[in-house]
């Protein structure tokens, strides 16, 4: 039942939001909607942890531990983005960047976007999962191009075209998987649960080729190098709450899709095949991001490249495998989602206050925006994997997985990239946070809703390795092992 409620909340409230024309009312409605969503997804998670039984409804919806872990992550980040949207949109309205009439479309698209992401992780049928992922692209393209300026339309076009090509390849992979299933069982079906049962009898050659299409196709949407080219454009041009959703959870839903298929592939072929592919794309993503983070001139592009880096780390974690690697990668999914959202919110405030997203125009942010500046500073250290923040633990686990398997080369490479990116990010953000503020720049006070969004995420960044998240990750480990 909670399954349906979690799905229905964004859908129903998206319609409610359109009724009212005042931004205040819309913001209240969306706050209420996502508060409900978080509460229900937490109760869903607890109920699941008690029973440890996958929930299934009408053969269409299906939620096992993997789904519920992602549902929880999506709900939490969208709740934060919903709170943050209020202050952000108010500023955009005041600065006349968007027209008052369009705010309801913003909330409508926001809700549909979250709905399509939740749908992705809750359907059993792999064809419908494909449809839901394509839907995320179509809906969020409008959010990327919301400003209707040259830059944002260019970003939205590239996003649509590149991701659509990727997704067609993923559909091809889906069909080849289904064909393999048809050959071994004589029945047509795309249900994951049915594929899972016969996974060992599938034709290995077909599975191998299909999985390559899947990882290239969905990998495009996940931002894996070398298919990442849409990502910096879209992340930098989208409205900041949407950038947080894109980077924090949209990329992860594609990783979810890849993981679903990897369970079947591993049962059929053994884990070596998917591991090698994961490590290959992970290393490539790390290399690309490490090179490009250093030379960025735009604050949101900088964060976008850091997202590619973290997606690479997550892929390496899954590629190294074992309990340590997988555990670390799953934890990293959650930690990156909350930390990167916080930083995108911070970047949004900085861009709004200085009226520019050029790194060189932003100076002395700690004096202009003391609260945001301080939060961004914490976010930078959390993102770079400093203790006591949760990301420290997940990165440590992935590194430990590399070293304990005797893979010193890979471990050393990860350390090298981490330190390179850390120094680049600290250097760039150091310039923005410290130093003298420009003379004409007035100090700005953030609205209450923005305080709330930051503090909510900060709490999660600090405790992201314990409690509910930890128990969820432990039960996902069992699912991923194919037991």
């Amino acid at each position: 039942m909670e399954l349906l409620i979690v799905l229905a909340v964004p859908l129903v409230f998206s319609l409610l939001g359109v009724i009212s024309n005042s931004h205040k009312a819309q913001a209240k409605i969306i706050f209420l909607a996502y508060l409900l969503n978080v509460i229900f997804s937490i109760s869903l998670a607890y109920r699941f942890l008690v029973s440890q039984q996958p929930l299934s409804l009408l053969h269409i919806f299906y939620a096992d531990s993997l789904s519920i872990f992602f549902v929880f992550t999506i709900s939490v980040v969208s709740f934060a983005a919903a709170i943050y949207s209020k202050g952000y949109i108010e500023h955009e309205l005041a600065a006349k960047l968007i027209a008052p009439k369009t705010t309801k479309y913003y909330y409508l698209l926001f809700n549909l976007f979250v709905f399509s992401m939740l749908l992705t992780v809750m359907v059993n049928n792999l064809g419908l999962m494909w449809v839901a992922i394509e839907l995320t692209t179509l809906v969020s393209a409008f959010l990327v191009g919301f400003h209707n300026s040259r830059n944002s339309v260019e970003a939205a076009w590239k996003y649509l075209i590149i991701c659509s090509v990727g997704i067609v390849l993923a559909l091809l992979g889906t069909i080849i998987f289904s064909y393999a299933f048809f050959l071994s069982s004589g029945v047509k079906s795309l249900n994951w649960t049915e594929l899972f049962i016969v996974a060992k009898n599938l034709n290995p050659d077909l599975v191998r080729i299909a999985f390559i299409f899947i990882i290239v196709g969905y990998g495009t949407k996940a931002g894996l190098a070398p298919m990442h080219t849409w990502l910096p454009d879209a992340h930098s041009q989208a409205l900041s709450p949407v950038s947080a959703l894109l980077s924090g959870v949209l990329l992860k839903t594609s990783i979810y899709a890849i993981l679903r298929y990897s369970v079947i592939t591993n049962l059929c072929l053994g884990s070596a095949f998917s591991s090698h592919l994961f490590v290959f794309f992970g290393v490539l993503s790390l290399a690309v991001s490490a090179g490009l983070v250093l030379v960025q001139k735009d604050i949101k592009r900088l964060l976008a490249y850091s997202s590619i880096e973290h997606i690479g780390i997550i892929m390496l974690g899954f590629g190294l495998g074992g309990i340590m690697g997988t555990y670390g990668a799953l934890l990293h999914i959650f930690n990156h989602a909350v930390t990167k959202s916080l930083l995108f919110f911070g970047a949004g405030n900085l861009v709004n206050a200085y009226g520019s997203n050029k790194i060189r125009s932003i100076r002395g942010a700690l004096k202009v925006l003391p609260f945001t500046g301080f939060m961004v500073l914490i976010g930078i250290f959390a993102l770079s994997g400093f203790p006591p923040f949760a990301m420290f633990f997940s990165e440590l686990m992935i590194l430990a997985a590399a070293f304990s398997q005797g893979n010193y080369l890979l471990g050393g490479f990860i350390l090298l990239v981490l330190s390179l990116v850390f120094s680049a990010v600290l250097y760039q953000f150091g310039k923005m946070l410290f130093g003298e503020k420009p003379d004409h720049q007035p100090a700005v006070k953030e609205p209450f809703s923005i305080y709330l969004a930051f503090l909510f995420l900060l709490a999660l960044i600090l405790v992201g390795w314990s409690g509910l998240v930890n128990s969820l990750v432990q039960s996902v480990l069992i699912t991923l092992k194919g037991l």
Binding site: G127, E154, I161, L169, L171, L190, D205
Partner: protein, 211 residues
């Protein structure tokens, strides 16, 4: 019968690559979809499947009539120059297309080792359609050509699903149609926006975001 229709599909994919004008491109796409609809219908009658029949009719309505109509309306409304501009001229494109088709043929005969001749042929043609659609997207300058390339790729995947797999589950198929249709409408909206902001729909002008 099926054999000729499948060959016709391959020919129409070559037609897309060699087209020099936008109107021809849209016409060729419409023709390709028509062949696909007939092929699906024949398959549906052979198997006696009602679901596949409905899907064939949907292809006819959506991809033969409605989507080409939307696309040609866009070209009329924004008065786009009918000349397709190329990064690679049609002659060289055809040569590349031949090469790609050969590669796809080899690839398909590796994958469909155990299948019958029609399935093998079908696989080869469908991979070629996907490859040629992607080729079109990369080597043509106009934004509308990219939309058609994408749709041609989708046609290739559809062929594989319809003939090798006898169609996907009905619900999924419908959902995919919905997605494709919404996708074309949204891409169309962005074509209008590009035309207004960049004066023309050459994607080569979309070069402001770099690095």
């Amino acid at each position: 019968m099926e054999f000729f229709l499948i060959l016709g599909l391959l020919a129409s994919a070559f037609g897309l690559v060699s087209a020099k004008r936008l109107s021809v491109l849209i016409g060729n796409f419409s023709l390709q979809s028509l062949l696909l609809a007939i092929l699906t219908f024949v398959e549906a009658v052979n198997l006696g499947q009602l679901g596949l029949c409905i899907i064939a009719l949907l292809v006819l309505a959506l991809k033969v009539v409605i989507i080409p109509k939307i696309l040609s309306n866009i070209t009329k409304e924004i008065k786009v120059n009918d000349n397709l501009e190329f990064y690679l001229n049609p002659q060289l494109s055809l040569l590349m297309a031949l090469l790609l088709t050969y590669l796809c043929w080899t690839f398909a005969s590796v994958i469909f080792v155990e299948s019958d001749a029609v399935a093998k042929m079908c696989g080869a043609v469908s991979f070629s359609m996907i490859a040629l659609g992607m080729f079109l997207m990369i080597f043509r300058v106009k934004a509308l050509a990219q939309i058609i390339g994408l749709l041609a790729m989708e046609n290739g995947v559809f062929l594989l699903a319809a003939l090798v797999l006898n169609g996907m589950p009905f619900l999924v198929e419908m959902a995919i149609f919905f997605d494709v249709f919404v996708g074309v409408v949204i891409l169309g909206v962005f074509v209008y926006r590009i035309n207004r902001l960049f004066v023309g729909i050459d994607v080569s002008k979309l070069n402001r975001l770099r690095g």
